[in-house]
């Protein structure tokens, strides 16, 4: 005897897991489904028996419960590149595999008898298979051979849900497995190697046994004269014809896939069903088919959708031949079966997830430093970043009154060099580039072709034909794609190196930032919006003088390998200056007091420079740059809304709070914070312009309400309006 399945093992002991129905033992029918080791809907005929396996019947008259057994070890995945995959190892499959091997091909075979089930053929082509210990992804170079054979047709007649009904092939298997069959009556093709009484005629019904109403006691057939004959029995063997298991072939149309053996058989069409259950999974009867047909559901897909026949665990294996026969009998052309979709053999989500990973979130070289300092880390802009170090107020105060450092390694950084570098940047940016002197930096918006702001950053000139560009953390990936695409499209002679990950960056900011840098060995710090090089605390750095916090700031770009040395050096040298790191939460507060926008947070999909009140960053007199035509076009239309700064007394409203002018909604808050320095809340938010009336132009509201509190729009920030601190 070969491997015993759970089903044969139980049947040998006279135990049933389900009500009944014609068992096929080929993995096609839904009559042996049970919960095995906590997984429901397992085909016990395909599950090798072993001791200590937990096998439970599904709840009688109800669906299995949704529950988890807790932890399970992840299922491993295997990828195999080969020449040929042969699915199915019956005689035809074995022969096909041998032939391919003889031709010197690297062949992988899948044998469902060994628990290797192909669940689908996907574009690639890719054959995915579930095996007993892992999930296989097979990439065949030459060919996929499908040798999945054919399934046996199920009986449709009253009583087809009794126990003791077995397909002809299954009868042979059960007899060989030592299952007691008793008196066997064979309808249709008789079982091989089993003593059975062959009977013929039209199948009328199965009758229960007197001793056990759940078991079959007789099968009734009608002869050609219309006379019914009852054949007492313990087991009915049903050889009603074959229907190819061709779902894999059908889902692989257009790929190099070939069927061999029984899978190519034309499907047998059973007689039109007259009575009884057609779809055991969804409980659809012949009467149901008649009913929906009479109501206008006349094609296969509509019958399926109306009755839900074919949508259960056997995916139509039991019912589709009969529904086709039914529809053909109503005068339709014999309909083609449903579209074949994966999965052709069921598997758990845990199995199908084998080999998958979450999208990894990168960490800066200072990640361990932040965690050691007790930082609360957050995913932001595509990176793990410190949100705070436990005391946002102290972090804020350090920047405003002393000195603080911040890990800004996530900023996009790129070098562009080459004869056409200036030409490229003139095209990409809405401000003049050629006039930028070496050693100087310029704030830039990056516009897309719709004239919308896609990102912002700096352009720094390092030489005649060499530039450093910076981008926001969230925008750097897009920026690389964007710059390379334009360089290639315009056929420009440039070299581009994305150094976002290569370089660490630490921002040293605060009224005492310069003092700290001098201690760290910088003799001549660059002036505002200038850059230079220096060795800082022993680490070679490029220094960029700018300001996002509103205080004197130096961004120190350096090799990622040196980040920890530089960070620790600054912390040590600045200890008596009260240096402490600040996280993003403090940074949000600091920049908002300055009214600086964050692209992505304060901007929207359709934020033009005009809507952002950033027209100063666009020089339309430049003859051409990306987005110029769109800005000229949209500037002709009236402005509808603008990003504005607001102030209000009392606590800061939640970001996303709505802004009202009386009872009218006029916009919402994109950024909001309490300003300790000003003693009130400051906000950025979108506001819709209001009709001016009497032919006056539309205007922005001045006094609005947010969260039920009065707020006022300010045209100029209250905190250091002249920007004196940053330039100090």
């Amino acid at each position: 005897m070969v491997t015993d399945s759970v089903l044969t093992h139980l049947l040998r002991r006279g135990e049933y897991l389900t009500d009944g129905g014609a068992l096929c033992l080929g993995g096609d029918c839904p009559h042996c489904l049970a919960t095995v080791d906590g997984v429901a809907y397992v085909r016990t005929c395909q599950t090798p028996f072993r001791q200590r396996l937990s096998v439970q019947a599904h709840p009688a008259g109800d669906l299995p419960r949704l529950e988890s057994r807790g932890e399970r070890a992840p299922v491993p995945a295997r990828t195999i590149h080969c020449d040929v995959v042969v699915i199915g190892q019956g005689p035809a499959g074995r022969r096909a595999a041998e032939e391919a091997r003889t031709d010197g091909k690297h062949v992988v075979t899948l044998d469902s008898g060994d628990g290797q089930d192909a669940i689908g053929i996907y574009p690639g082509p890719l054959v995915v298979a579930r095996t007993n210990d892992s999930m296989w992804q097979l990439y065949p170079r030459d060919e996929i051979i499908v040798a999945t054979g054919a399934a046996e047709i199920q009986p449709v007649a009253p009583g087809n849900d009794l126990r003791g009904l077995v397909t002809a092939r299954a009868t042979t298997v059960l007899a060989a497995a030592g299952v007691t069959l008793g008196r066997v009556v064979a309808v249709g093709t008789p079982p091989e190697g089993v003593v059975a009484t062959s009977v013929s005629g039209e199948l009328v019904r199965f009758e229960p046994a007197a001793a056990d109403p759940r078991r079959v006691g007789a099968v009734v057939l009608r002869d050609s004269l219309g006379t019914e004959h009852s054949h007492p029995c313990d087991t009915v063997s049903l050889g009603l014809g074959l229907t190819p298991r061709d779902a894999l072939l059908r889902m692989a149309r257009g790929m190099n896939v070939r069927g061999v053996g029984d899978v190519l058989l034309p499907p047998d069409v059973p007689p039109c069903p007259l009575d009884g259950t057609v779809c055991p999974c969804s409980g659809v009867t012949v009467e149901d088919l008649r009913s929906v047909h009479a109501r206008g559901f006349c094609e296969l897909d509509l019958v399926k959708r109306a009755t839900l026949a074919g949508t259960g665990p056997c995916q139509g294996a039991a019912c589709v031949p009969h529904i086709r026969a039914f529809l053909a009998a109503q005068g339709a052309d014999l309909p083609t079966p449903f579209t074949a979709r994966p999965v052709t053999r069921q598997l758990t989500l845990g199995e199908v997830a084998a080999g998958a990973h979450h999208v990894a979130t990168p960490r800066t070289a200072l990640d361990a430093e932040h965690r050691a300092l007790g930082a609360h880390m957050e995913r932001l802009g595509g990176w793990w970043r410190p949100w705070h170090y436990g005391d946002v107020e102290a972090e804020y105060t350090a920047v405003r009154t002393g000195v603080s450092i911040c890990d800004v390694s996530t900023l996009g950084k790129m070098q562009v060099s080459g004869p056409d570098a200036v030409a490229l940047l003139e095209h990409l940016y809405p401000v003049p580039i050629s006039s930028l002197a070496t050693g100087r930096s310029r704030y830039v918006l990056m516009l897309d072709e719709r004239g919308y702001v896609a990102d912002d950053g700096l352009v720094c000139r390092d030489g005649d034909t060499r530039f450093t560009l910076t981008f926001t953390s969230g925008g750097s990936t897009f920026a690389e794609l964007w710059v390379r695409d334009w360089a290639e499209s315009l056929k420009l002679d440039v070299r581009v190196m994305n150094q976002t990950m290569s370089l660490g960056a630490i921002n040293v900011t605060g009224p005492r930032a310069k003092e700290l840098l001098v201690r760290a060995g910088v003799t001549d710090p660059p002036g505002f919006l200038r850059h230079g090089t220096a060795t800082v605390a022993g680490v070679p750095c490029r220094l960029f003088r700018l300001s996002f916090t509103g205080e004197v700031s130096f961004e120190l770009h350096h090799a990622a390998a040196d980040s920890v040395t530089l960070w620790q050096g600054l912390m040590r040298l600045g200890a008596d200056l009260g240096v402490r790191p600040h996280g993003l939460e403090a940074l949000m507060k600091l920049r908002l007091e300055m009214g600086h926008i964050i692209v992505g947070q304060d901007t929207d999909f359709d934020s033009t420079p005009r809507r952002l009140n950033h027209e100063w960053a666009v020089r339309l007199e430049k003859p051409s740059f990306v987005g110029r035509a769109a800005i000229l076009r949209t500037n002709k239309l009236p402005l509808d809304r603008q990003l504005c700064m607001f102030e209000m007394d009392g606590n800061a409203p939640a970001e996303g709070a709505t802004i009202w002018l009386g009872a009218e909604y006029v916009g919402d808050v994109t950024s909001s914070t309490w300003s300790p320095t000003l003693g009130r809340s400051v906000m950025l938010g979108w506001v819709r312009l209001q009709p001016g009336g009497n032919d006056e132009p539309d205007e922005l509201p001045t006094k609005v309400s947010i969260d039920g509190q009065h707020a006022r729009r300010v045209t100029r920030r209250s905190f250091d309006p002249e920007g004196i601190r940053a330039r100090a």
Partner: protein
């Protein structure tokens, strides 16, 4: 697998011809990551390539670890869905364990594979290896 260590490399972006004809330091592993870009696992002089506009920069954002070929292939069978090169030595790059990984298969006789992983993903790489 040992923990990958930070590599001190040189990264060069230059015309493909300049990279094709460059005289690299003897014995250095040279990964040709793109037609116009090379990653050299050694310090390199600025004038190693003939392109006057080349960008030549020290590169410390990659970590590397040498792994015996058998262990490497077992890992790659689980975590890599593209076909590995069969010639030696060979360079290959693509998604491995969901991360952008570069592989250097050493010359015949040295049955080892160098895994090169961007440092920002090393924590994930080590987690996914185990």
């Amino acid at each position: 697998m040992h923990a990958p260590e930070r590599l001190h490399c040189t990264r060069i972006v230059a015309t493909p011809t300049a990279l094709d004809t460059a005289a690299w330091p003897g014995g250095a592993v040279v990964l040709r990551v793109a037609a116009d870009e090379a990653l050299v696992a050694a310090p390199v002089e600025l004038d190693v390539v003939s392109d006057p506009h080349a960008i030549v920069e020290p590169e410390t954002a990659f970590c590397g670890v040498w792994v015996e070929v058998e262990e490497a292939l077992a890992f790659l069978e689980r975590e890599c869905d593209w076909e590995l090169p069969t010639e030696r030595p060979a360079f290959a790059q693509g998604a491995v364990a969901g991360l952008p990984v570069k592989l250097w298969f050493a010359a015949d006789g040295d049955d080892r594979v160098l895994f090169v992983v961007p440092a920002p993903f090393v924590v994930d790489f080590v987690e996914r290896w185990s």
